[in-house]
């Protein structure tokens, strides 16, 4: 996908992140419909059509946007109360605001070029920094948004709330007790997962689910385009999800979710046959693989696109 140039934002990649997240959270409404994923259209091109209308805008540009289903923005320059008011007015009825952020630590590690220096492999010396270096080698290929600290995330959520926009967040995997408030989840998910471009989604408060908690529609991943970022993979996968990740590692470019499922089944069946075991397809295969892919996405190991990654989502507004 687009190379990241020093100091420049890859708006297209950020918008794709926002769209994939919005689809998984099932929060896009209105002209796009909740379940459609497809090529978005620029707000400058007009609002009619079945695809979500998308606009990119920094803080000072938000006031010039109207009727967008999805407004994509960043916290650089810093957003303020007026920014969120403008964002609220920029979205169409059913629309959402997506604020892309990175964690401070993740941004710091990548800015320092960690992962480029020669390191002992994580297997030889699995200390924290060696693991971080292995992560950075993969994450360096991902889009990077401006960083926001935990306290800044709370500020942003508060500013948004004051303008009638509610932060929505899903459950966080692997934790024993789910934080109750959406902003608590946002902080934990951003900082603990080393987010490089995580979409904070805001919906008009009247549409927000209780407590801002949304349920992830993992199964939608099978309609997405998926690309693996890590080349490490099990030579003989011992499960279907493992086979899916191995297939991604072997693919040179993004693959549709349904195609991935098919290829993963074949790879797994082959590995199982070599081990003297017979496996058959099951209706649970899809959900199983989908869950694994979403987990891998949250860990930064795969990239997800709700729309064809080969097609830019929208032109950036001038200014």
């Amino acid at each position: 996908m687009s190379a990241r140039s020093e100091g420049a934002l890859d708006w297209n990649a950020l918008a794709h992140r926002a769209l994939a997240t919005a689809s998984l959270y099932d929060v896009l409404r209105g002209a796009a419909g909740a379940s459609r994923a497809g090529a978005a259209r620029s707000s400058r091109a007009g609002a009619a059509g079945a695809s979500p209308t998308l606009a990119y805008a920094r803080a000072s540009e938000l006031a010039s946007v109207r009727d967008a289903d999805l407004v994509v923005t960043v916290d650089a320059p810093a957003l303020d109360a007026a920014s969120f008011v403008a964002a609220r007015e920029a979205i169409a009825p059913g629309g959402i605001v997506a604020l892309l952020i990175a964690s401070t630590s993740a941004a710091g590690l990548l800015a320092a070029g960690v992962g480029h220096a020669a390191h002992a492999s994580a297997a030889d010396r699995p200390d924290a920094f060696a693991l971080a270096a292995a992560w950075a080698r993969v994450a360096a290929r991902a889009p990077l948004a401006p960083a926001a600290s935990a306290s800044r995330i709370r500020e942003l959520a508060s500013l948004a709330s004051a303008s009638g926009l509610t932060l929505v967040e899903p459950d966080i995997p692997h934790v024993r007790a789910q934080p109750k408030a959406a902003v608590d989840r946002a902080v934990l998910a951003t900082v603990a997962f080393g987010a490089t471009a995580r979409a904070l989604l805001f919906v008009p408060e009247g549409r927000a689910p209780k407590g801002g908690v949304v349920r992830l529609r993992e199964e939608r991943v099978l309609d997405f385009w998926i690309e693996g970022r890590s080349t490490a993979a099990a030579a003989r996968p011992s499960s279907l999800p493992e086979a899916a990740l191995a297939e991604l590692a072997a693919c040179a470019r993004p693959i549709r979710g349904k195609d991935l499922l098919r290829e993963a089944r074949a790879r797994y069946a082959d590995a199982a046959r070599q081990a003297g075991v017979q496996v058959t397809a099951s209706s649970t295969d899809g959900p199983l693989v989908a869950r694994e892919l979403v987990t891998a996405w949250r860990d930064g190991a795969v990239e997800l696109w709700a729309a064809d990654p080969a097609t830019p989502l929208a032109a950036r507004p001038p200014g």
Binding site: A150, R176, F193
Partner: protein, 498 residues
Amino acid sequence: MFAYDDVPYDTEANAETHPSTIATLARLSGLRPAAPRTARVLEIGCGNGENLIAAATYLPRARFVGFDLAASAIAAGVAAATASGTSNVELFAADVSDVRAAGTKERAPGGFDYVVAHGMYSWVPRDVRADLLAVMRDALGPGGVGFVSVNALPGWELRRALRELARDATRDLEDPAARVAEALRIIEELARAGEGASGFRGALAAAAREYVAHVARATPPEAPFARYVFHDLLADVNEPFSVAGLGEDLARAGLRIVCEAPLFPSRAGAFDGLAADLARTGAPFLQVLVQRDDGELAAAPDASAAAELDLWADLTPAPGGGFRTTTGALVRPVGETGLARATRHAPGFVAVRDLADDDDARRELARQLFAAACEGVLTLVTERPGCATTPRERPCVAAHVRVRAGAAVERGAPSGVVTNALHRSFRVPWSELAVVLAMDGARTVPEIAAEATRRAAEAPSSLAGPLTGASTRDVQRFVDAVVDRFTRHLFLVEEDAT
């Protein structure tokens, strides 16, 4: 209320900041630092002064000055120095900006030979950092060497994530102990949830485990809670620095980096620079020696310079062969290597030049011993400390050590920390502290045993251990072993300084 008055910081002696350690590194870097025995030492942010008092008790002709904003810590330090009669230490409460304004020339007209700012720079606001370096520059005499420690990038980024989450989770808590407890709970949960994970989650989990272990080492058993966490991860200010960033700050203040401290094993081989080394190792903490920018330019630490130094081989013969270091590592010198030759003098001091017959052999030996010193197997010194290294009829442990031992014994602590002439600290059990307390230069070893036994009879048996319930012979054997160990580990002074 200043945080360090509200929650005392558990300051202990730090071997890396001792003038002998600094002098050795400076010599290896081609400088000619002042002799530690008669040095003038300033510590900025000295806390309770323990780092200075522990050094001063073995260097009676050196002069030590320290200041800190925490008045309660300074008061505790003054009391400790008074109790042990350590008169060559001056401690005062002050703001670093006031010290900058007043200057340091009154206290040391010719300048200080060593200026230490350990655990300060990353934890104070920007304006205080500028004052700190200005004081250091002003205080350092020609040829003086400074010591600065900071949280280091890029390795500290993982701790930044821990700090963000810990501070976020405790933002509504007031009580320091409660904040620390919740912070540690969050960190331990991160370690658990990310166990075995790949990606950033796995790295953060590993960092969480490392930090929990680090906190355990830094927290005395008798501390009411991990105060280290309160003053580190939860501190209002905690800024990391890249080598370049620190270098820029130093340059603005008229200072520059001499070398990092201590020497790490990587220094024994090809070294591609401090910044590259940190990027490769990810060390989250950096200690450096600094000098005035108008001083003689330092070179990179050179192994061959070890030929001019003495070495201290604190190695104990291990039952199955080889030697144990003070950290418990086992070394097995082979043949006629430098280490093998050094161990023939263990434990003891020997001049490196005396271990080889000609210049070529001496250079090769120096290289081997430098590598061993980088591994922490032995210690290189510019001068031997003023302590007794052989048994005495009436052994005398340094006064401050006896005061510390006495304090721990009186309060019934199961153990206490004592520091030797090389500024190495050891945590020893109550029973050994009771013996140390009696080693005052006035008693023979049997009399030491009698005094320790008397004290043990008044203490719970859980503390007194080998001093109670055993035969007289067993007690004497125990006391003999303690006296021997404290002699060998450089705790004895030539005579009682009090």
